[in-house]
């Protein structure tokens, strides 16, 4: 098995946590500030309309500043003291189970804190301009703050149950944000009302599919309580690492956690909600895809590393799910014409890379998180760039009607170009350093697994290059295919966005260029994560490293060249052309909705129908028959109540006679 051969060094020793001091002891403020801001904005309502967005931005910036301070403090500590624990209060205690609310500050959670707060703050800044004309901007910021607070709870919690609170929190926030534009009034035009309903449906879909994942997390926690008697990371992971929990239970827990991650991170087979989630405002997509929600699954996988190391089957399943999703996502991305849906499919695919990394064992953990970090920056940048394009093109998203935008919006063009190169993995852009490492690690192992996983990762890189280049070329290059006054959408007047929107793009570009290379120097990032992921000796790939690297670059360049030949050299049709079976399937998200409908929804509906029928005919039937019987008896008895005095007297007489006869009969 891949994983066992990798864990040459000691399995992830779970470092004991030290009490937090200094800035780290204020870590609770990271969560409290955006949470309070969200509460304030929601409670004040319209009264805070004029300044609410600035409060939201300020809360995000304060969190980012504090997060940075804690990061600096922890960086100043020796490597083996970089796991800090901040116990806050005892939540509840049931029998021998004590649940304490506490925060855990270690390299893994701090990486997330930095990503969430920093990228989050930039997205807040961008949203100030992007949502300028929305009458509910204040509410939007309240939800964004809630999202950040929930995500920080998720990554900072020191036990699975605190993680679960944040897990549900991001689920709620994403539900509120995806369905944000569902407020068309009853007297609004039909089209707006239909759109409103569609948005609400997308939000519900995300929520429901996430609930399926939550079930997995709950089951995992139940298994932990049963086997370890605790849900705290220290106890559960410590016991898992010591081999105190039987392999069967570790495997079960691992699969439950994988189910949870599939729901949250839109992995196969629960990925169908992510494309529809594009119904929300674009900054939300950036926040969900880059910094918060969908990355939570990868966090869960890496955080639970000790469990997966004890359960090779579950670990392999993680890798397989990741590989499948990365391929599926890439194929879907190559067929979509909706700019945001291409990016959504791309997220799915990139998260697939991270899951694949997480499924490769300790050697892959650091690279999974590394890719998550670099992806967080360049995906946020791509989404914000897409938002900027939508801003310029009257909110249109059909890339078949774009083209030649590079002159109209040069800053967006350059920054998105950097994001494009970064996601392609062209050196020295950041994506190269992280993705290449995952592909390399996928090739490590024995037997067939490395060839399959590595091969999929390699093909995925080529597909990524194709669909991202297709997106980039169709937006910025080729002929202008803009809608004119003759189209229903109306004429567009492309223009560059204001500085509030371009500034975050430029800042994110800097990170997309430099982050990967800088953190690779001296294996800085991998070493930084070692207190959490443990030190893993790297095995040897089945192919030489430079061959893998060359092959990756080659497929990336080929993918980009094919896209260039298809979408720049040849004119692009402005209407969708019928494609082959694969293209049609990809356009319909690989019929994932139909599959889910057939295997989950229909049987569920059948069950509900049967239950309803049982309730109506069996349960209600029994009760109603009893009621009808009683009423009938009453009707019979009522006949005796004529109201005539003499009749009653006769009853008395007859009764007396019967009593008399009975007594006499008894005597004789």
């Amino acid at each position: 098995m891949t994983s066992t051969s990798l864990a040459l060094a000691a399995p992830t020793a779970h470092a004991a946590a030290l009490p937090a001091t200094g800035a780290a002891s204020l870590a609770w403020l990271l969560i409290a500030v955006p949470a309070c801001s969200a509460a304030l904005l929601l409670l004040l309502g319209r009264r805070s309309d004029r300044w609410g967005h600035w409060l939201g931005l300020a809360a995000a910036v304060v969190s980012a500043g504090l997060g940075l301070a804690i990061l600096v403090q922890v960086l100043g500590l020796p490597a083996d003291e970089r796991v800090l624990q901040l116990d806050l209060w005892q939540w509840f205690s049931v029998g021998s189970l004590d649940v304490t609310v506490g925060l855990r500050l270690d390299p893994l959670s701090l990486t997330f804190v930095t990503l969430v707060t920093f990228v989050g703050a930039l997205i807040h800044l961008y949203s100030v301009a992007y949502m300028e004309h929305d009458r509910d901007r204040r509410r939007f910021f309240a939800y964004l703050n809630l999202f950040v607070a929930a995500m920080l709870t998720l990554v900072l919690g020191s036990s699975y149950i605190v993680l679960f609170v944040g897990w549900e929190g991001v689920g709620l926030a994403s539900y509120l944000l995806i369905g944000f534009w569902n407020t068309a009034d009853a007297d609004a035009p039909q089209r707006e009302q239909a759109k409103s309903r569609e948005n609400a449906t997308a939000a519900k879909k995300a929520f429901v599919m996430n609930r399926v994942g939550d079930l997995g997390l709950l089951l995992a926690m139940m298994a932990m309580v049963y086997q370890a008697g605790s849900v705290a990371f220290d106890d559960v992971l410590g016991m898992a690492a010591d081999g105190a929990i039987p392999t069967a239970w570790l495997t079960a827990t691992g699969f439950f956690l994988l189910l949870a991650a599939c729901g949250k991170s839109a992995q196969f087979p629960l990925q169908a909600w992510l494309g529809d989630a594009m119904a929300g405002p674009t900054p939300v997509s950036a926040l969900i895809h880059a910094a918060t929600m969908v990355t939570a699954g990868v966090y869960l996988m890496v955080r639970s590393g000790a469990i997966f190391q004890g359960a090779p089957a579950a670990q392999l399943a993680v890798a397989v799910v990741g590989a499948l999703t990365l391929l599926l996502g890439a194929v879907i991305g190559a067929a979509k014409d909706d700019m945001k849906k291409v990016l959504a499919a791309s997220t799915m695919s990139q998260i697939g890379y991270m899951m694949l990394g997480a499924g490769l064992g300790p050697a892959g953990y650091a690279f999974a998180i590394f890719h998550l970090l670099t992806h967080g920056f360049f995906k946020a940048q791509l989404f914000l760039g897409a938002g900027s394009v939508m801003h310029a093109m009257s909110d249109q998203v059909d890339i078949r009607r774009f083209g030649a935008l590079r002159t109209a919006m040069p800053i967006t063009w350059i920054t998105m170009g950097i994001g494009w190169l970064a996601i392609l993995g062209i050196p020295p852009f950041s994506g190269f350093w992280s993705k290449d490492k995952i592909i390399e690690t996928a090739f490590i192992g024995e037997g067939l697994a490395p060839w399959l996983l590595g091969g999929v990762a390699l093909i995925g890189a080529g597909l990524t290059a194709f669909y991202m280049s297709r997106l980039f070329f169709m937006i910025f290059h080729g002929q202008a295919r803009w809608t004119t006054a003759a189209d229903i959408e109306g004429e567009v007047h492309p223009h560059e966005s204001g500085w509030l929107m371009t500034a975050p793009l430029v800042i994110l570009s800097v990170f997309s260029v430099a982050l990967g290379g800088l953190l690779t120097i001296g294996d800085a990032f991998v070493t930084w994560l070692e207190p959490v992921t443990g030190h893993a000796e790297h095995g040897h790939p089945v192919l030489p490293v430079h061959v893998i690297m060359a092959a990756t670059l080659a497929v990336v360049v080929i993918g980009a060249l094919i896209a260039w030949a298809m979408y720049v050299r040849r004119p692009v049709e402005t209407v969708v052309q019928p494609g082959n079976v694969l293209v049609e399937a990809a356009r319909h998200d690989m019929y994932q909705d139909a599959v889910n409908e057939a295997i989950a929804m229909r049987p569920g509906q059948g069950l509900v129908l049967a239950a309803t029928a049982t309730d109506r005919y069996v349960v209600d039937g029994a009760v109603e028959t009893l009621a009808v019987g009683t009423a009938g008896l009453g009707r019979l008895v009522r006949l005796t109540q004529s109201g005539y005095l003499r009749t009653y007297a006769a009853y008395t007489l007859v009764g007396t006679l019967i009593a008399l006869v009975a007594v006499l009969a008894g005597r004789l």
Binding site: R638, Q641, G643, Y644, L645, R646, L653
Partner: protein, 101 residues
Amino acid sequence: MSLPITAYVVLAVVLFALGALTVLLRRNAIIELMGVELMLNAVNLALVAFSRLHGNLTGQVFAFFIIVVAAAEVVIGLSIIVSIFRTRRSTSVDDENLLQH
């Protein structure tokens, strides 16, 4: 010569039956009250006869109480009938079936 006890009991039964039939068959409330009186007196007759038979006064005391209760009952019954007659101009008990159902 003294009559056998059976004669008293038979007379009481006949009187009681006549009273009961009066109550059951007549419609006039006043006549019905008289039927009730007849039944009570039949019972009184039986009580006094048994009292004599046993040679003690228990039955006579009971009869005395019944007479008192019957007087009270007639007072109440008659006043009810009078008030019904005032509102409905009728003393027929079959007209008064307001308590039906």
